[in-house]
Amino acid sequence: MIYTVKSSALLIIGIVMLAWAGLNSSGAVDGMQSYLLASDYKDHVKVMKKYDAQVKEATEKAAAAGQPAPEMKMPASKFDHSKATQSKMSNYFGIAFVLIGLFTLVWKPKPGNLDYLISVVPGIAYILLIAFIVRWGLDPIFGNWGKAAEPALGWNFAKIFNLNYVVIGIVIGIVVVNVFKIPAWAANGVRTARFFLKTGVILLGTLYSAAELAQLGALSVVMIGIFVLGSVWMVLYMGKRMGTPNSMTAVLSAGMGVCGVSATVAAAPVVQAKAEEIAYTIGTILIWGVGCMFVFPTIGHLLNMGPVQFGAWAGTGILNSAQVAGAALAFDPHNIETLKVAEIFNITRVLFLPIIVLWLAAWYVKHEEGAEKVNLTQVLVAKFPVFVLGFIAMFALSSMGVFAPAGHYKGKYFSSTEIKEDKLLKSDETSAVQGELNRLRGAEGSQALSKYLTESHVTLGKRNVTSEDVYTALTELAANKKIMTREEDSVLESLAKMDGIDKAAKEAISNAHHAAYHTSKSIKAYRNWIAWLFAFGLIGLGMQITGKALKQAGGAPLVIGGVVGTVKAIGSLIVVMLFVKEFI
């Protein structure tokens, strides 16, 4: 069989990307980019003004000394960096697509691996082009419109309705498959979305600390354990009460309980579900999942939830795993902290999957006459999610410091030796620190400090922080104009939270803290790539959600699914709001 479809589409996409790279590099679209990259452009204006002032000063000095004006180069602004990134990405992919596009047109494909590999490229290019348009174009446009309408509306509609690149991308994916249909030349490549999502999860493994993984893992096991087992039980109970066939009850409980469509796909053959039962179940789960993906982030913003709370809620309450990732990124699109939490929940769910499938298989055999017995080992091996091993491997390598210095896990690491001259505290800041030190050493200040440290249980490792620790940290900070150790940073961070601390001193501590923490370039790059991989994957998955499949939602599965899905979403929200704190 030949997979490659001869088409000039790939070549055209490549040319469009190269054209965008060229327009960006030449500055021809700077006017448009200043609107799309509004925040970066503000920085550009600042840098430009500073540069102009420096040039003027240097020219005047040179003129006074009777020398020619010095040659100076304007430093790159965030705007320049963003444009350069767009140009670079468009260039790399554009060149690759043009070359492969030309090759496809002249090549006579023969069955084999090369044919298959070439056949997926146009689809990848197609999704990537949509991702570029969404991330660089539509996302900032909606962001700007939301801000512009805020004074009139009193609220930012783009933020509340999460009109960011993730949601827009998924919606475009759904529109493409249902309205325009996926072009034949792109069909094979669109299916690679799953591969890229899994790659994103594997790379995500680099961003966790052992403590973070342990805390989130424990939380997810408890939450998923309760809600998975609870909803599986609830479906089995309701199914029995409503008299639905055993196979329908079993396949529905897998979908409702574990990870939506994925669980249905895994469980259907094992519990010998009938065709219409599968159709009803998948339709119900998809319609519920897509709805939740739009509703959950809005509720999360309205309830002012943090990344851990929202990630835990979405990871538990949303039936379908693809929409968990979508909702997490929709809630927090430019920082992947929520995605990190939600994906731990997804991984826990998928690890629960073989166990639940086995449970349902055993249940089905017990309740259905003539049901075939299931080979437990075969099910466990066949259903094991191999990509989770990749995630664990990346986490292990990352923990060993392969990608970034130790303590890098949040993308930042502490180093006082790397602080640049211009990041040292200024004299007014050291004076503020010294002044606060003197005040805290006074009778009233020392009493207040001691009371604060005791009442707030401020600790350093396993011991309590003393007033002496605070004095030493402040003295060192004033003397060195920077924070010297991680311990002192921790002490000062706690101190800054104390009531009555001088505002200028608090600001100096904050500046010193930020100067001492450095962003790991490799981790920063991973974050960026992970966001792209998820955006790509979710657009591709959007293209797998057909209206015709959604329309199959119905029958008893819709009733049971509606009840169990609602109970799960509301129940997990209550548990999260009551017991889950932003502790990571």
């Binding site: 065709a275 599968i278 998809l286 795993s321 929409q323 259903k383 094991f384 999610p385 797998q544 015709k548």
Partner: protein
């Protein structure tokens, strides 16, 4: 009815299709009319793996083969049953299987098989379980160049 060379019967074993079958066999002339049995596997099955991404390829393949097996068994059962009933009544029988939009498949088959008439069942009443894959009657009426007969609903 004279010159009724062949009747295209859209049939998938539903109560409505059984009504269509009864009408077609009543209309057809034994020894003269051929019953062309169109069985459509609805195209929504293409999207039935939805956005599953957590499973590995082997699990998805198992699911795909399982669903194909179910649909194939169902198709075979339907074909055998109608073929038997046609044989009993002395009608020539020809099965046609297609996958896609039911109305589109019917229009294409009508042309391809050069049928004299098309017989379909009444639309499924609301609330009755079944796939959400209905025949687009307007599309049929506009696209067909042969008479279209729709069986009356069963008296309730």
């Amino acid at each position: 009815m004279k010159n009724l060379k062949s009747i295209l019967l859209a049939h998938h074993g539903t109560p409505g299709a059984l009504l269509a079958e009864a009408l077609a066999l009543e209309t057809a002339v034994a020894g003269q009319t051929q019953i062309v049995h169109l069985l459509v596997v609805p195209d929504f099955w293409e999207g039935m793996q939805g956005d599953d991404w957590l499973n590995n390829a082997s699990t998805r393949d198992t699911f795909g083969s399982y669903v194909e097996g179910l649909l194939e068994a169902d198709v075979k059962q339907q074909l055998r049953a109608l073929e038997g009933r046609c044989a009993e009544r002395g009608f020539a029988y020809k099965p046609v299987m297609r996958q896609g939009d039911p109305a589109q498949c019917l229009l294409e088959t009508a042309v391809q098989e050069d049928v004299s008439m098309v017989v379909i069942g009444p639309p499924r009443p609301k609330g009755v379980p079944g796939y959400r894959s209905r025949m687009d009657i307007e599309k049929l009426a506009r696209g067909l160049h042969v008479p279209l007969l729709m069986a009356a609903r069963a008296a309730s």
